[in-house]
């Protein structure tokens, strides 16, 4: 259930951004993908970043993840300036922040068996020296959390799975890592309608279990309303509006937000979840 504003503001900040900017290219090819955005994500908050395709959501996510550099601005991790200057520090940082990407088909190394993906997580969490049975138990647990059977998946290759199964495995991976922050970049946009709802449910269940902050990126404002406490609306690399989900969606200020909302049928009336999440 969405947290109240009061509740939220009492929680400690886990990730804060100050005028974060990303510029690609030089000269005539210069492209400001993210333009001086400010944000403050708190513990166990579900944040949605909503915007049309090309508005810079993925670029922002990658900066936050530390996968690409920040052109300008600062990112604070648990109220301290984020330091990811060496591989060791990055590795430490990534124990606290993880991601699920949009396209499950390109998220897997298709030359590796599925087990490799899960074993890598166990290793990252320091479980390299665990006995084999223990590792298998951990993997079986993680799979059953996302309604998959480890016995059926072990030794299979990613291309033998469906998109929905792949994306659920990605969530099993998060289940093993239990990061403080999860960035889910349009995790449901490329999977079948059946898997969509389960994936969302699992993400929210994870949040409840490990107090995880979820940064949910989507182009679907209806979906954002359904899952999030706070919503950031992104247009051309800038946040044009932000606030609690109720405030932003039921009482939009920016033209862009209004347009996004009007594109979704029946938003002001009773919310029809079946069109959104396939519930």
């Amino acid at each position: 259930m969405p947290m109240s504003l009061q509740e939220l503001q009492n929680k400690p900040s886990v990730l804060r951004g100050d005028k974060v900017t990303k510029i690609f290219g030089y000269g005539v090819n210069k492209n400001t993908a993210v333009n001086e955005v400010n944000f403050n994500f708190r513990e166990s908050e579900v944040v949605s970043i909503v915007g049309e395709s090309g508005s810079g959501k993925t670029t922002l996510a990658k900066m936050v993840l530390g996968l690409i550099g920040v052109t300008q601005g600062d990112i604070y991790f648990r109220d301290a300036v984020r330091d990811i200057s060496s591989h060791k520090k990055k590795k430490e940082y990534w124990k606290g922040i993880q991601a699920v990407f949009q396209d499950p088909f390109s998220s897997f190394n298709m030359f590796n068996r599925i087990d490799t993906l899960l074993l890598d997580c166990i290793n990252l969490m320091g479980g390299k020296k665990l006995p084999k049975e223990e590792k298998v138990r951990l993997m079986t647990d993680a799979c059953s959390f996302v309604n998959l059977k480890y016995e059926e998946l072990t030794n299979k290759y990613p291309f033998e799975l469906s998109g929905g199964q792949m994306q659920r495995l990605m969530i099993a991976r998060i289940f093993l890592l239990k990061p403080k922050i999860l960035i889910a970049d349009e995790p449901t946009s490329m999977v079948d309608a059946c898997s969509r709802a389960t994936i969302l449910d699992m993400l929210l269940k994870l949040r409840d279990e490990v107090n995880m902050t979820i940064i949910f990126i989507t182009h679907d404002i209806g979906l954002a309303y359904y899952v999030s406490d706070t919503v950031y609306i992104m247009e051309h690399g800038q946040f044009v509006e932000s606030g609690t989900a109720e405030d932003v969606i039921l009482n939009p200020q920016a033209e862009y937000t209004k347009r996004l909302i009007s594109d979704v049928p029946k938003i002001h009336e009773e919310w029809d979840l079946s069109t959104v999440a396939g519930l």
Binding site: K62, L65, L67, H87, K90, K91, W94, K95, Q98, A99, F101, Q102, D103, S106, S107, F108, N109, M110, F111, N112, D120, C121, L124
Partner: protein, 419 residues
């Protein structure tokens, strides 16, 4: 992987290329094993012996029934037939009537005397101031001499019990003596004749194919290793390293590889130019284009989510390059390797034609064979067998490898399939 190999064989181009290549390859392995000659063995005394089946002249005499040995035929021929009087008469005639300078001819040097007689004596010519009786006597002597020469045959010898070579006076072969072809020990088959040195072209050619393939493989391996490593590092790391590698690559691109190749080969001590060093030099000038194309592949791969995910799993850069990038470019690298091999074989041929190829007397390469054919004017001598088969071999190798490459391209880049 297995699936892709199967798919590759289902394209006709790859299949045909593979069949041609394997045939050439197998022939190059098997034929030198069954050939009676070693690749650089001097088989024939003549240069450019035409293709055909040959009987060794010795073998006509030295067959299974008897083992005879030819003595020095030149010296012994006819000599015994001439008496001293005959010799004196010939000298007298040649000196008085045919203006031979005195002292040149002698009774001892019978072969020279007979040669001079045969060259100058004409039975139809009446010498002025010679009696008819003397003329007729000369004609009769000449007839006797010619019969003796033609009937004499070959003088033979054999080893006796003591191992000494003894002249066999009982057996003389004449024009009516035959030998059963089946009993000839050593029928020499020269399907493609011999080269200028009298070496069997086919054996030499197939061993040269093997050497050239080895050279191509070494050169291709060198070029691919350097190009792949630089391409992977350059594409993945970006920044200063990328700029530096790109600069070197561009430098190599601006200077044509072949010119560089000529310069390096020229600078090398000819004695040091073995097949292996030439291969390494060729490989060293050929890596930039592998590097360029690997780099561009890596540039698009490094932004893929599976690479990002691998980073998020805390993997180190070398591990990501080897585990998450390399497998994706592997098929491409195999194709580049095939092209590198065939290009290297052609480059060696070109270098050798310029006299800058491997300077070796131990092995032949396709380029060296072409070079020899050119140096000893095989074209002018009409000895097509000394260069046409080599050209065909080079063409077959290059053609089959390019076909395989196109076939693989269709499998790995399906969008080009109908292109």
């Amino acid at each position: 992987m297995f699936r892709q190999v199967k798919q590759a064989f289902s394209t006709p181009k790859f299949l045909i290329g593979f069949i041609i290549f394997t045939s050439v390859f197998l022939l190059a392995i098997i034929y030198p094993l069954i050939s009676p000659f070693t690749p650089l063995q001097l088989v024939s005394r003549q240069s450019f012996t035409a293709p055909g089946r040959y009987v060794n002249i010795q073998d006509v005499v030295e067959n299974r029934d008897r083992r005879y040995f030819l003595l020095n035929v030149e010296e012994n021929r006819v000599a015994d037939v001439l008496s001293v009087e005959d010799s004196l008469r010939m000298i007298d005639f040649l000196e008085t009537h045919l203006d031979f300078p005195p002292g040149v001819l002698s009774v001892e040097d019978e072969p020279a005397l007979i040669a001079a007689w045969n060259a100058n004596y004409d039975p139809n010519q009446r010498i002025q101031g010679m009696t008819l009786a003397a003329h007729n006597e000369n004609v009769r002597f000449n007839e006797r001499l010619q019969v003796a020469i033609s009937e004499e045959g070959v003088i033979l010898a054999y080893f006796n019990e003591d191992g000494e070579l003894v002249q066999d006076t009982a057996n003389m072969f004449e024009s009516r003596d035959f030998v059963n072809v089946n009993s000839i020990v050593n029928l020499v088959h020269l399907p493609l004749g011999t080269d200028n040195f009298g070496r069997d072209v086919l054996t030499q050619l197939l061993s040269a194919v093997m050497t050239s393939l080895r050279l191509g493989l070494i050169a291709g391996a060198v070029a691919t290793t350097i190009g792949l490593s630089f391409g992977l590092i350059s594409g993945y790391t970006g920044g200063f390293v990328d700029d530096a590698i790109l600069f070197i690559t561009n430098l190599f691109t601006v200077i044509p590889g072949f010119v560089l190749l000529i310069l390096i080969s020229n600078a090398m001590d000819p004695g040091a130019r073995s097949v292996n060093t030439v291969a390494i030099v060729i490989g060293f000038t050929a890596w930039p284009w592998t590097c360029r194309s690997v780099r561009s592949q890596v540039l698009s791969l490094r932004n893929r989510d599976h690479v990002n995910l691998s980073k998020l799993s805390g993997h180190s850069m070398p591990r990501i390059i080897l585990n998450d990038i390399l497998p994706y470019v592997a098929s491409y690298v195999v194709m580049a390797l095939i092209l590198q091999i065939s290009t290297a074989i052609l480059a060696e041929a070109q270098l050798s034609m310029l006299g800058l190829g491997p300077s070796t007397t131990d092995v032949a390469t396709l380029g060296l064979m072409m070079n020899w054919a050119q140096m000893f004017s095989a074209w002018q001598a009409g000895a097509w067998w000394a260069f046409v088969p080599i050209i065909l071999a080079i063409a077959a190798i290059a053609f089959s490898m390019n076909l395989m490459n196109t076939g693989l391209d269709q499998v790995f880049n399906p969008q080009l399939r109908e292109g």
